[in-house]
Symmetry: C2
Subunit: 577 residues, 2 copies
């Protein structure tokens, strides 16, 4: 057999119950998306690996979580929670506590693959309603017990990690109800534990589920959609893949309710107001450091799938692609909802991943002189009313006519991307199983600084031999865009991984970009926050923190750079594990 024709034995099947893998595996326990053979061969090439290297996994993480992490609360404290919530809503077994303290970052998977269990809540609690949360927070404030919150569990910033022990509130058990639906206002109020897919299904079928006249959408589809909660969207300032039209979550929130150590608050519920600093925008992005988000009122959009349109184009160069997407965003004719531009390296990988390589389109592209490691793929989807989507499509095409492009719309490149858009993260486990780490970092840039940020980060990553660095723009604005980096490298050690990740963060910061456009800060990127945002901003954060949470019980342990320990502050946290 020639090299690369073997199909590696990607794992599929039942993970051992109670195993580390059952915690770190992304998404649906029974779902998989394996690298296709083109992508597999690409990796063999890049990493100078042989089929043999994929004959035996470095590890699957099948080992059972055997650690017993003692509960460090007093029995009086435990009794309080049991009495308040009932036995059935208090979990003290280590497995549940690990599962509800770890997120889905590479650092989480890596630690679990190394059988490292740390920073685990003492108890997992499942509050039934706001009153439960109020009682828990009041008690914890009195007893100085740390309070963490777990929503969908897809944090990639160690956002949910119970660094100081204490309790983790699992919002998804009970607190996932619809509290109000107002069709006149086009709003829905849900508890924070409501999961994305459930909410979206409710809204799409609103005539039957909510006795509505019309169908609605939230328009918010983060890559983690399947395993993301409304509360998580809000406290991290998340973005959906369609945000170029619908906006980020901060644009979609009308009102919020928080339970904080100093009391419960309800923000104003108005589209806009001029009554001082923006209440909602002070609370959004607070990452559990001010209080527990209990409910959210979201602005809705009409659900009009019949009007949805797609486009896809290949540019001859990154420069052309950047100029064109900027021109579209500044064109005053409406905007696409999904709008992405991949750099040359990501384009080449994407051609493999989305099955364009080897098709007639690929042949034509080559013939027309669209060169590998130069050409750049743009994908777009247009949402809205039919007349609107038609107008945007026509004007996008008009802009594109100024550039050398090859139209991939007929080849359904965007539909192919859409089809697998929530599945790509599932490939991570396959890569990890064979010693390849994959991670993503993203930042927010203005157009004028974009190219430099891209160059600096790439230069740093590519300086490391045999390392993939793919970049795309997504979430576009008239003034700039989100720049999203994906890197893949053959490595297995935590320190090596963190050296690369931290190095990228340094270069993002030095190049002047905002550290995060939608991943939040958490405890992982927090050491860079002050350097990026300035000490004046940190002063505001600390002031608000002291106000809401004078005893530092809310998500303590470095969240938002607030109470970092020495290792965090020195950027060596977890390197020594």
């Amino acid at each position: 057999m020639t090299k690369g024709e073997v199909i590696p034995k990607w794992f599929e099947g039942n993970m051992p119950e109670g195993s580390y893998r059952s915690i770190f595996k992304w998404g649906d326990p029974d779902a998989y998306k394996h690298p296709n053979q083109r992508l597999y061969r690409h990796m063999l090439n890049v990493f100078e690996m042989e089929d043999e290297d994929f004959s035996e996994a470095v590890g699957f993480g099948f080992e059972e979580v055997r650690q017993e992490v003692p509960v460090r609360l007093t029995s009086k404290q435990v009794d309080f929670f049991v009495e308040l919530l009932g036995e059935e809503n208090v979990f003290s077994d280590t497995y549940t506590r690990v599962k509800r303290s770890y997120g889905k970052g590479m650092i989480d998977a890596l630690r679990l693959r190394h059988e490292i269990v740390e920073n685990v809540a003492d108890l997992v609690l499942a509050p039934r309603n706001r009153e439960d949360v109020e009682a828990i927070v009041a008690f914890c404030d009195e007893e100085q017990i740390p309070v963490y919150v777990f929503g969908g569990g897809s944090s990639v910033t160690r956002g949910t990690e119970a660094v100081k022990g204490g309790v983790t509130l699992d919002m998804g058990v009970h607190m996932k109800r619809v509290l109000d639906f107002n069709e006149k206002d086009q709003t829905i109020t849900v508890e924070a534990g409501m999961m994305g897919p459930e909410l979206e299904a409710l809204l799409n079928e609103a005539p039957s589920t909510l006795q509505a006249k019309r169908r609605y959408t939230c328009g918010h589809f983060p890559q983690s959609f399947e395993f993301s909660s409304v509360g998580g969207w809000v406290v991290t300032r998340g973005a959906g893949q369609n945000s170029t039209y619908y906006g980020k979550i901060e644009d979609l929130v009308l009102a919020q309710e928080y339970v904080t150590p100093i009391g419960t608050l309800q923000t104003g519920a108005y589209a806009r107001q001029a009554t001082g600093p923006d209440y909602n925008q002070i609370m959004i992005g607070s990452e559990g450091a001010f209080g527990v988000l209990t409910s959210v009122t979201l602005k809705l959009h009409r659900y009009l799938p019949e009007a949805k349109r797609y486009f896809a184009t290949m540019f001859a160069s990154w420069e052309d692609g950047l100029a064109a997407v900027r021109e579209i965003m500044q064109g005053e004719f409406g905007v696409p909802s999904v709008f992405r531009l991949s750099d040359a390296e990501e384009t080449d990988v994407g051609m493999k991943l989305y099955g364009i390589e080897g098709t007639p389109a690929d042949t034509i592209l080559k013939a027309l002189g669209f060169e590998p490691m130069k050409k750049c793929l743009m994908l777009g989807m247009v949402d809205g009313d039919k007349a609107y989507t038609k107008t945007v499509m026509r004007r996008v095409k008009k802009v594109l006519r100024k550039y050398k492009t090859f139209d991939l719309t007929p080849f359904k490149a965007t539909q192919r991307w859409e089809h697998g858009r929530f599945l790509d993260p599932y490939m991570r486990e396959d890569l990890n199983d064979y010693g390849l780490l994959i991670d993503t970092l993203e930042c927010s840039v203005r157009w004028d600084q974009l190219e430099e940020v891209h160059e600096q980060v790439r230069a740093f990553v590519k300086n490391r031999p045999k390392t993939v660095c793919m970049t795309h723009l997504s979430h576009l604005y008239p003034q700039g865009a989100n720049l999203y980096f994906i890197f893949i490298a053959k490595m297995n050690e935590i320190e090596e991984y963190l050296d690369l990740q931290y190095g990228i963060l340094e270069h993002i910061k030095e190049s002047g970009a905002a550290m995060s456009h939608h991943h939040g800060v958490g405890k992982q990127t927090s050491p860079w926050l002050e350097e990026m945002a300035g000490s004046a901003y940190m002063g505001i954060l600390r002031t608000l923190k002291d106000h809401f949470d004078p005893h530092n019980i809310m998500n303590p342990g470095g969240t938002l750079g607030l109470d970092m320990n020495e290792a965090q502050a020195n950027k060596v946290w977890s390197k020594d594990l």
Copy 2:
């Protein structure tokens, strides 16, 4: 002569220099817009007045400001400012100090007409740059001298009033420069004292003024446009009349610089980020209570006047109008830029004001059964690229076909409104001269509460005999709108006026609306802020205030409800003047 055929001797000409009128008169000293005869006759009717009542003015405010308000600073303090800024940038004469401490609210005009001079800064300072502001704020913090800021001077909330004396920084003397223009990012950075018309002219003519490739607009046109500064827009959370497309000022700001007692800060300059609470949105709307806004980076739009479209329609009823504009705002096909719906009373007055009454359109309207005190006028303007404006126009028309309407587009009703849109406030002085007070109050509502707020406020105002109460929606959103009240009454006493104004504020608050959509809070509406926004919000405000301004030198005296005296807190402030 029959009643109403006399043309009142509305004042035109040179106001005596140094007079009260030269301070309270709205806008350009040499510009006027007098009520036309239809409006005049309407007032005769409503207020049961005779032509004779307009033969002699109650007063013109021609008296010279003769008060001598002593400067209560020490000579050492005065010397500091003179040494720092030079004699030419320090003003100690009472006239200048009154002129730079009063705003353009009815309460300001009324006090000056009553020759009441109070709450005047001790010195007016004209800082030349950020360094000057830093030196002033540092010195004032040390010496505990209050610091007020004067921009365009069009506050209607007593925002600039120097309640505690001290110094007022006049930003418009020097600090009105362009600091940066970035065409790639479509941004401009200006000092806070830059005035609206100057900025807009610069942008519209960007190819010659800024060596740009294209023409731009800020898209921000408050009614006070001619006498409003960029800094004022930002610190009050203002809105332009075209905000339904361009957004409010908080949507147009990319970055800001503030000089606060604890230091100078520069917010992040990214379209969006996920790095904690929103830095920009914490500072916008701070109304000078946290620090002095020194410069602003604004997001720009392309200036495409050739694509602008207008529409105007008469609805048979308020209910129809509301349903239609909501349907348009929720239609997902783009939005108008100016979008207004007048209630029945405002429609009838507007027909007179904008010269529609008595035209063929009016005759046809009557014949078709569009009844007075029932029919409602909608005005719209669509901005953007040609394809976009065409799409929006077509879809607006499609929505309107569902309702009984009469198309006023051919009669250029919106153009008539646009032509005079910055001039309407000039009529205030004419009315005041003859003992009629006119004032405006506005609030932010969700669709679902709109009708109740409208009914409650109207019921209260109309309970007073012979009082005009006109209402319109402007600044529309998918989730609600700005509801704007204009009242006119024959009265001359401050207490009587404040009773009416405060009563309206009570009813706005009780009906659940947000106290202000774009006028800000200032010192006038601040007693209602806590009741509306809640004590948790006030706790955040106080915390931020203490953080930035520990010695309470920044705009003290009740701004944002922060340090109200007893009279303010008890809502009797100024009633006893």
